[in-house]
Amino acid sequence: MGFLDIKQATKSYGAVKVLHETDISVEEGEFLVLVGPSGCGKSTLLNMIAGLEDVTSGDIAIKGRSMLGVKPADRNIAMVFQSYALYPNMTVRGNISFGMEMHGLAKPEREKKIEAVAELLQITQLLDRKPGQLSGGQRQRVAMGRALTRDPDVFLFDEPLSNLDAKLRVDMRTEIKKLHHKLGTTIVYVTHDQIEALTLSTRIAVMYGGHVQQLGTPKEVYDNPANMFVAGFMGSPSMNLFPAKVAQANGAPAAEVTLRNGETALLPFAGGSMAGHDGRDIILGIRPEAITDRDGADRNSNAVHMIEATVELTEPAGSDTFVVTHMGGRDITGRFRADVQVEAGDRFPFAINMEKAVVFDPETEARVA
């Protein structure tokens, strides 16, 4: 039993089931991120934890106590909304104070907490302004300040950074992470941004179509995606997924891939996996960083294979150059060091690290190896 337990929880609106049976157990102090594309049910699940939406079936428990029928205010949670949801008619002070007032805290106590929180978030000079007079980043801080005064068991964040511009988003991301280190409070955080998920979380639940596709640490989810959806969703640029066939190379199982000119190339699987699957159609998944130039390849790997292929396109991105070629009928992106001399049209040796390759079934899209 964890600190926050989601047990077989579902949500239906009428006949439409938007969240299928979900089991997640969160330990105290964890930073769980629910990530997935828009409409996958992340907010719904978060609102169910908050008590803003009823649970259709199943249970949600905090500290071992079932939350069914418990009002949001009595769950000892705090929530930061995507729109910040600051009360427009109150000052920043009023906004932060409101929750404490509703919970019956005396005025001197409230003032003390407001001062402390304002100091922590560096919004002391904004306390007497109205939300309408604040910038996006400042509103974001006030919204967090309002949540912080509660000393909650669980913090809930619903896409708190998605209304900020790119630079500020990265800064606030760091601040939220620092805050978590400092306070150690359990956090459930919703985002559609996989980079936010990877950088912030201790664990990630990748959601799609009302199902949790995979639950694991950022490394697990990134290195060992459970299915093609997770593989494609996590990581940027996303994992290369292309059709191949299992064949034999010098008596060991290998992936046979077709290049642009109809030639085929053999990529032996690392560690002899996929033995006994000769002739099977598969989807091979290789991340861009595992497809690189000869000198950029991982020296500790003994499963790096070279394939000579035509460069279709290069995309210099400052620190790296992304090089696009063609395999299995798809565009394949490799990540090269920026100083590699390569141009579109070149025949070039690509170093592919098969230790990092994953295999999916083309029908079920599930992980095979």
Partner: protein
């Protein structure tokens, strides 16, 4: 209004207005505007003329009117017609002036407007922020209620008031206006609150505020503009209503509109036009006052910047 900056911009583009060279084109550029204002002034006079006639004639002795000087300003200014209309004129069978009926109207309109506005706001809040089964149906029925012609409900309403023991009383009139007013006030507030961010309500729920607290502390303070619209609408309708007043009131509970009618019709002998004009102005004054006073509080953009940005 909206075109003013544009034309100024064009003027600025043609050169420094102090230079004589620029004068020619400027005049022709302003010609459409001059015509526009001339037309508007004409319409303005057209609409204000009746008001002028009423005010002017209510301030002169009857002899000046009967002598045929309808359009002229008074020769001998007098407040006597106003005094007469207010406290001594014959209304129906009694010579009480309009004062008691003015008070009736006030006693009727203030609670009717206040209660229908508050109930409308509550309805709008519930209909938009606390989804429940049948909400759409209920709203549909309320809306339907707005469009039932007054005449259709006269007899059933008379029966209802009789059963409730409110026939011929001011509370009875208040009740009738409430029933009719709630449909409209709900419509106003529902549409206004539909655009009010639901996340604010959710945040307040998490903060521990209950149903009424959220309404009182979060929604109502942001409802200024729509409340003003609603109050102006309800006040004008209820104050000016004649049909319900004539149908459901007794002599001692008649509203101003009915009394005014009686004033005009019950004068024996000569028609005291000056007194009638004064009475009509008294009947019109409160609605005018509401427009002037409440309109000033019609401040837009209270919600600007509460969410996003």
């Amino acid at each position: 209004m909206a075109t003013a900056p544009t034309s100024r911009f064009i003027t600025a583009g043609t050169g420094d207005p102090t230079q004589p060279r620029a004068k020619g084109p400027r005049l022709s550029a302003h010609l459409p505007r001059v015509i526009l204002y001339a037309l508007l002034t004409l319409f303005c006079i057209y609409y204000l003329l009746p008001l002028y006639v009423m005010v002017a004639n209510s301030l002169k002795p009857l002899s000046e009117i009967t002598a045929g000087g309808m359009m002229a300003l008074p020769d001998a200014w007098t407040l006597a017609p106003w005094q007469s209309a207010w406290s001594t004129a014959q209304i129906g069978v009694e010579a009480t002036g309009l004062r008691p009926y003015f008070i009736n109207s006030l006693v009727m309109v203030i609670p009717a407007v206040a209660i229908s506005t508050i109930l409308g706001a509550l309805n709008g809040y519930v209909l938009t922020k606390w989804h429940f089964r049948g909400a759409t149906l209920i709203f549909g029925l309320l809306l339907f209620g707005c469009f039932i012609p007054f005449q259709m409900v006269l007899i059933p309403m008379a029966r209802m008031l009789g059963l409730m023991g409110l026939s011929g009383t001011v509370p009875g009139l208040i009740f009738v206006h409430l029933v009719y007013g709630i449909g409209f006030s709900t419509l106003y507030f529902r549409n206004y609150y539909a655009a009010f961010p639901t996340e604010l309500v959710r945040a307040a729920q998490i903060d521990g505020a209950g149903f009424f607290r959220i309404f009182w502390r979060i929604l109502l303070p942001s409802s200024g503009p729509i409340a003003v619209v609603c109050i102006i609408w309800q006040f004008t309708n209820i104050w000016n209503d004649f049909l319900f007043g004539a149908s459901f009131a007794d002599f001692d509970s008649q509203p101003m509109t009915v009394a005014l009618n009686n004033l005009v019709n019950s004068s024996t002998g000569v028609k005291e036009y000056n007194v009638h004009f004064a009475g009509a102005l008294m009947a019109a004054a409160p609605t005018l006052l509401v427009y002037i006073v409440a309109g000033r509080f019609f401040v837009r953009g209270l919600m600007a910047g509460s969410v996003k940005g």
